[in-house]
């Protein structure tokens, strides 16, 4: 192995950020020598743990998620790292630790690397003042504007409908699913959604730190993929402002027909040739 390939370089390899020539040299080395392979695997273990602990820098986090969450075998390692992290966080006993409530930390601290998975649901009547100002602003009309769903049922952490809703709620009540950036899938359960037949669109409200979003001349886009990396939807994310919800950045209307049961990763980014990824969000559509 080249002497200049230190742990940081191995980390870049695992994130897919190492130049191809160096990556090939490294691969040649770990094919030939078991100690090199062990070393790369050791660096991978620390990388996984850093992700599970919310210690990755934003650039690393994006690269990590696009690689490790897009592949089922690598995702299993993420799950194992989550488990290991939970087990090592407090050695008094995993069962006690794992059922302890996870506190919601303020989104503005996300940039500092805190792990937050905050999920909230809002059920609001269409065209009400609250919806107009908070989720569907009057200036949101445009070629990509999507209608609100006729109905949808949010579900709680147990998978059952939340107390405020039921599967028989009226068809005219739309669901807006608010998502905070999830730095660690499973630190809390992902936002869950059950979409009844006849629903047209699921409106996802995307939260984060407004200070990290470039000026309004830059268009935002949302890309939804399955956690396996399968493409689902690409479209504009409309900027949103609401004095009552300063962390609300944008919303995206995703056709409900694209969201079958499963886990999804939504990436909010600045439209352009360069990688302008701002935040990633997880959500789950139940059966």
């Amino acid at each position: 192995m080249r002497p200049d390939l230190d742990d940081a370089a191995l980390r870049r390899y695992l994130l897919g950020l190492l130049p191809e020539a160096e990556a090939e040299a490294l691969e040649e080395a770990y094919f030939a020598r078991s100690d090199v392979l062990e070393r790369v695997r050791g660096v991978e273990g620390d990388l996984l743990d850093d992700y599970a602990s919310g210690r990755l820098e934003p650039g690393e986090k994006g690269a990590f998620e696009s690689r490790y969450l897009a592949s089922a075998p690598l995702r299993e390692r993420v799950v194992a790292a989550r488990a290991l992290r939970l087990a090592t966080a407090d050695k008094r006993g995993p069962a006690v630790r794992l059922v302890a409530p996870v506190r919601w930390r303020v989104p503005l601290a996300i940039a500092a690397g805190l792990l937050v998975a905050v999920l909230a649901f809002w059920i609001r009547p269409p065209r009400s003042p609250q919806v107009t100002s908070a989720s569907v602003p009057p200036d949101s009309a445009g070629p990509l504007e999507t209608p609100l769903p006729r109905s949808a049922v949010p579900v709680g952490p147990s998978g059952a409908p939340t107390p405020t809703t039921s599967a028989r709620q009226t068809a005219t009540r739309p669901l807006v699913l608010a998502l905070s950036p999830v730095l660690l899938r499973g630190q809390e359960r992902p936002a869950q959604l059950r979409i009844p037949d006849g629903t047209d669109t699921v409106v996802l409200e995307l939260e984060g730190d407004p200070a990290l979003v470039p000026p309004s001349v830059s268009a935002l886009q949302a890309i939804v993929k399955t956690v396996e990396g399968g493409p689902v939807w690409l479209g504009d994310a409309r900027r949103m402002t609401d004095a009552r919800r300063p962390s609300l950045l944008a919303s995206a209307g995703v056709p409900a027909e694209r969201l079958g049961p499963g886990d999804y990763l939504l990436t909010l980014s600045v439209r352009g040739p360069a990688d302008g990824t701002l935040y990633s969000y997880f959500f789950r559509v139940g059966r």
């Binding site: 273990g45 090592t88 359960r189 493409p231």
Partner: protein
């Protein structure tokens, strides 16, 4: 010795050729084979293959067949890596693993898979930790605990306390981690949280 691999579709002669080329000594050949397979599985996983184990086995099959055919190979691991790159390219060409450009998405519903139940994770973790020997459980929790400088220092102390090198300790921790990972994966995939394969 991975005798099961000989029944994967390879002839016994081809498998023997591969082992002999890896090392004339049978025991060392077995170790070399295991390393090569681990390297292949890691390579395919890190390169994003959907089925790293299958790709690794396909690579080994082709490698053994070529060796058995008498192809002159100077550097077996390097030759294996060359085959692996071809297998990876073929893997990506398969329709069932090939992605569709977002721009080409049609109007049909997306195909997605059901996600594992996160509720199962704490239970699976407990069960899998219970399957480890107490000393191993203590080692893995201590080795992967902490962060940054304190973690590095802790690992040094752990190695010193055990009279082992840091590399040896890392290998041991990695093996335990692999074992725990396999157990958790099995458990999460099982409807009743079974940790046995």
């Amino acid at each position: 010795m991975p005798a099961k691999d000989a029944g994967r579709g390879l002839t016994a002669g081809a498998f023997a050729s591969l082992l002999t080329r890896l090392d004339p000594d049978a025991e060392r050949a077995g170790s070399a084979y295991e390393h090569l397979r681990r390297a292949l599985v890691s390579f395919f996983a890190w390169r994003g293959a959907a089925t790293p184990e299958d790709c690794a086995d396909e690579t080994l099959d082709r490698l053994a067949t070529r060796l058995d055919d008498g192809v002159a190979v100077e550097d077996v691991p390097r030759f294996a890596r060359g085959i692996a790159r071809m297998v990876l390219l073929e893997h990506w060409r398969r329709p069932d693993v090939r992605g569709v450009p977002l721009e080409e998405l049609g109007s049909g519903p997306a195909t997605v898979t059901e996600a594992p139940d996160d509720d199962a994770l704490p239970q699976c973790l407990d069960r899998c930790l219970d399957e480890l020997a107490p000393e191993s459980r203590g080692l893995i929790l201590e080795y992967y605990g902490g962060e940054g400088r304190s973690r590095i220092d802790r690992r040094k102390r752990m190695a010193q306390a055990r009279g082992a090198s840091e590399n040896a300790l890392r290998s041991r921790a990695q093996r335990l981690r692999d074992q725990l990972e396999r157990c958790i994966t099995r458990c999460m995939a099982s409807p009743v949280g079974d940790t046995k394969s």
